[in-house]
């Protein structure tokens, strides 16, 4: 058979990472009750500068980065453990999330020395937050079709265009923006560049896009003759596509793809009481087994990456399965609670929780690469296209 074999070699997180887990857990136990959060059940999209600063003070942001930029030069697996604990304990990690996970690493890889020195230590302290300026009204999954144009002018670029779904732009400091610096709209991957945009720049207008749950996470960011200085170019002019695709690789198989709504499972356990009926236990157990499996898969992918491999297909499969699990979870939990909740009050409360989770669920299979895009990647890996 000529198709590549799917492999998920079981991987143990090293002892020092597990030791760190204990520290993080203890910190969260002490800190979380004192933190104000806008969500009853927080996750990686719940902002809290207060929490991010506290985490930064522990040295757990930019944990893998070089010491010269304030990092701890710890392993990528240590970072994984911190991430798992933030998600597993429903910490409001939204303020620093993108900066720590995606923008910082991008600057480290492609940014200028000046950019790194100016920005990375602030991210590490939990004080500097980022948005992602990729999607546009006419460019979603087809990112290479972006129209936002940065026209070279003396000392920098004049930027015109519109970005959408820009999470947190109204409260974050910077937005790494994918723009066309040369060529035409139809040139696809050529002529794209990334700019480090200060969201306070004159000519940059931020308007809310309210999502179906009434939340203001997204924004529309409009550039009208906004002047971006030349020292804000990230990497080389014209290398934007290469940089963006490497950035997207950070977006796939992490625990955020199956632990964003772990609170539903936790609350389900609570509402079902200590001795549910056999049938109920069995369904609960199946949900737990799915979550456990996803964690094994994600850890295996981390192990492969640590070993220098780039398991793109496996990572895509984790996101596909993980996000669909997160969509199934509130539905299964809701019906289970309806028949088996121990008290009426608990049930009413839980149904509100589950309802909210169901409402948020469509976003999981859209953000960070839709299920359909992922399946295209997997199909290519299977040699089908």
């Amino acid at each position: 058979m000529s198709i590549p074999k799917l492999e998920f070699p079981p991987f143990h997180l090293p002892a020092e990472a597990e030791a760190l887990r204990g520290e993080v857990r203890a910190f969260l136990k002490e800190t979380l009750p004192k933190i104000q959060s806008e969500d009853r059940f927080a996750s990686w999209n719940t902002p809290s500068p207060e929490f991010s600063r506290a985490l930064g003070a522990k040295g757990w942001l930019g944990i893998t980065w070089p010491k010269q930029y304030g990092g701890a030069e710890r392993s990528f697996l240590d970072r994984l453990v911190v991430t798992e604990e933030l998600l597993g304990n429903s910490a409001p990690a939204g303020s620093h999330w993108v900066a720590d996970r995606q923008s910082g690493p991008l600057l480290l890889k492609f940014g200028t020395e000046q950019q790194r020195q100016a920005i990375l230590p602030r991210i590490v302290r939990g004080e500097c937050y980022f948005s992602i300026g990729m999607s546009e009204p006419d460019s979603g999954s087809d990112l290479a079709s972006v129209r936002t144009r940065a026209e070279p002018v003396p000392g920098g670029f004049r930027v015109n265009g519109t970005k959408v779904w820009t999470s947190g732009a109204h409260r974050n400091h910077y937005c790494i923006t994918l723009v066309r610096t040369s060529g035409q709209h139809g040139d696809r991957h050529k002529g794209l560049s990334q700019l480090l945009v200060d969201l306070k720049t004159p000519g940059v207008t931020i308007r809310p896009i309210i999502n179906l749950a009434g939340r203001h996470d997204w924004n529309e960011v409009t550039f009208s003759d906004a002047f971006i200085p030349e020292d804000c170019l990230i990497g080389n002019e014209g290398d934007g596509w290469l940089q963006v695709t490497s950035e997207l690789a950070f977006e796939r198989s992490g625990p955020e793809r199956f632990m964003q709504n772990v609170y539903v499972l936790r609350e389900l356990v609570r509402v079902l009481g200590r001795q549910p009926a056999k049938r109920t236990s069995a369904i609960l157990g199946r949900l737990i087994a799915r979550l456990w499996t996803l964690r094994q898969m994600s850890t295996a992918v981390a192990g492969m990456m640590q070993g220098g491999k780039s398991p793109a297909i496996e990572a895509s499969l984790v996101k596909d399965l993980g996000t669909i699990y997160q969509q199934d979870l509130p539905e299964i939990a809701r019906t289970l609670a309806e028949s088996d909740a121990t008290t009426e009050d608990d049930l009413a409360d839980f149904l509100d929780v589950a309802q909210y989770a169901s409402m948020m669920a469509p976003s999981y299979t859209i953000q960070g690469g839709t299920t359909q895009v992922l399946r295209g990647i997997v199909a290519r890996g299977l040699g089908l296209r």
């Binding site: 069995a282 369904i283 157990g285």
Partner: protein
Amino acid sequence: MDRDTRDMLLETASRFFAERAGKDIVNGVEKGVWPADLWKEIEEMGLPLIAVPEEQGGVGGTLADLMALLRVAGEYAVPVPVAETALANLLVAAAGGKPAGGPSTVALGELSFQGNRVSGKVARVPFAGVAERFVSIVTAGGTSTLVVVPREAVAIEDTPSHAGEPYGTVTFDGATPEFSAATPISAERALELAALARTMQMAGAADKVLATATEYCKQRVQFGRPISTFQAIQHMLAELASYVAATIASAESAARDADEGGLEKGGSFSIAAAKTQGSDFAHRIAALSHQSMGAMGFTHEHILHHYTRRLWVWRRDFGSESFWGEKIGESYARAGKDELWPALSESRYAA
């Protein structure tokens, strides 16, 4: 055994199964033809003794070695009791005994053992129709006893599995074992080990299903082009791959945990979770692979059913997703919500 030795063994086994346990052999077993030559060669290769210590006449491999072999056996739908005999032998060795030759199986269920007599009935014993001896563990009052009962001492009612393998209901009516001994392996643990064996066989079979469906769709031409070029088919196979991946990953993790934690208790939770997961997704794997192959895959002529039917049978063997899921759910409910993540992150039962 070391990594290289194991890889070599697996490669040899893989080639051997491909050559000697082909379609006709699998179909033959369904018609009641016992492939005596195949079994003889499997014994000559030492496969049923892979996890038995050398001083007890075995190959001296680990539980992990055995499980890796069973994944390969699953990949070829090997229609003889490699898993059952290897497991029976492992249990005999753990009780200090020396495994005998010949096909054996495990009869795991409610049995009593008093005055050197075994009594009780176990349904759906795999390969009961061909096993020369039945190995079981009776746990009573906190102590466990392994019993090996010869075929002559039991009554067997044939109840072939839906994959056409000679399963049966075995009645022990005061049967005298040919060997019995105290064992550190409880009846419950024996069931876990058997469930683990099935998860690895399911992983192998799932892998083969994906490969079979993928190859088929690349060959099959409709509307003037290979159907693999249709996005609908591509996405179906990608989804299939995700369930196959989950089956493989959970099985491999459970095998690792079982091996590292020791024969007597290792990977208890992981096995339960993996058997739950594998059994849960067996249906989706079967459904998507059959859908992608249309009527062709639904024929007896094609080999796809060798694998999909086994997935349907194996998900039920040694505890289904309901059985193991209930154990997990019960434990996590008892422990309460705050134990959920700590227990899950350590791959253990919560209470």
